[in-house]
Symmetry: C2
Subunit: 209 residues, 2 copies
Amino acid sequence: MTRAGTPPAARRGRTGRRPGDGDTRGRILGAARLLFAERGFDGATIRGVAAAAGVDPALVHHYFGSKQRLFVTAMEIPVDFDAAVATVLPGPPEELGERLVRLVLRLWEAPSMRGLMLGLVRSAASDETAAEMLRQLLAEGPFLALTRAIDRPDAALRATLVGTQVVGLAMARYVVRVEPIASADPEVLARMIGPAIQGYLVGDLAAFA
Amino acid sequence: MTRAGTPPAARRGRTGRRPGDGDTRGRILGAARLLFAERGFDGATIRGVAAAAGVDPALVHHYFGSKQRLFVTAMEIPVDFDAAVATVLPGPPEELGERLVRLVLRLWEAPSMRGLMLGLVRSAASDETAAEMLRQLLAEGPFLALTRAIDRPDAALRATLVGTQVVGLAMARYVVRVEPIASADPEVLARMIGPAIQGYLVGDLAAFA
């Protein structure tokens, strides 16, 4: 929570910031994640975030400037994609798609990550900053790390095809909550949707040329 | 455009409505579809719709009551799903998935249908009425008509699995606009995504039991 480049000791010494600053900033971010997840970018307000965090709206502006900057900071995904991808590589090659769906669902089932993902997907539906973040995540994020690691041609195309199915699963399960997808066991979903993902990862895409 | 149960002749007679009423209502609906498609349910306002239609906001309230009722009316999809499904059934059975993707893309490429679809998907991200409409469309709409027509077990499950991929394609192509999905030729997309849909339509779902 300390600013990059400033040694914590120096900032906490005689000229240090007020006690509780770190907590305040963190509390604002937590409240922002909740509100963005529930209402999307358009629906959440600085005032609402401040109220949920129990602070004055001026403090939110002080720490984050605009709602847009608050959103970008709150939506930073605390996951090392390369490390996550490395966990799905070992195992039978023909079950790679299944393992990827299992990983994605395991991440989403954690409330904090699900909040981030919902905030991003909900907001991307109506806000261009959020859409750009989701676009980057789909085009240059974990799916590209994976398709590069398996060294098949058309890695970028394969990654975005995987992205279409994964985003649709997120929409159906968590946003639209359509049954039986919404309540299905993650393991069962991995087995049902894994083959489609598998096709995108390693199937024959010659048709695209 | 006349109220149900009131014979048109009676309403257009001596006590008939003002000339131009039908146009006004239609103009409001057209403006509403545009605004819901661009901004989603939360972002669009009665005032904004009225301005876009060139009418007084009071007229929007007069015709539609609430924003919610305006949304539900504006988002009615003017497609006969059974008839649409009937067009994809003929042909090689192993290319059914491809034909379905081709149909969906052909519908979406028409600006009016794309507007409806975008309005529904964008709004479903943050509004419960819209989410319920999309939920019904996915669970009981064209995909269920198709899976019932092909008479495989687990028709409802298959339909929602198809829905996850189709909604994700809509998000990636039209909302997030991630490349190369956004600019890809519909025919090419049908060949790439068709096999995944095919698996959901007719593949072995024993794993789900």
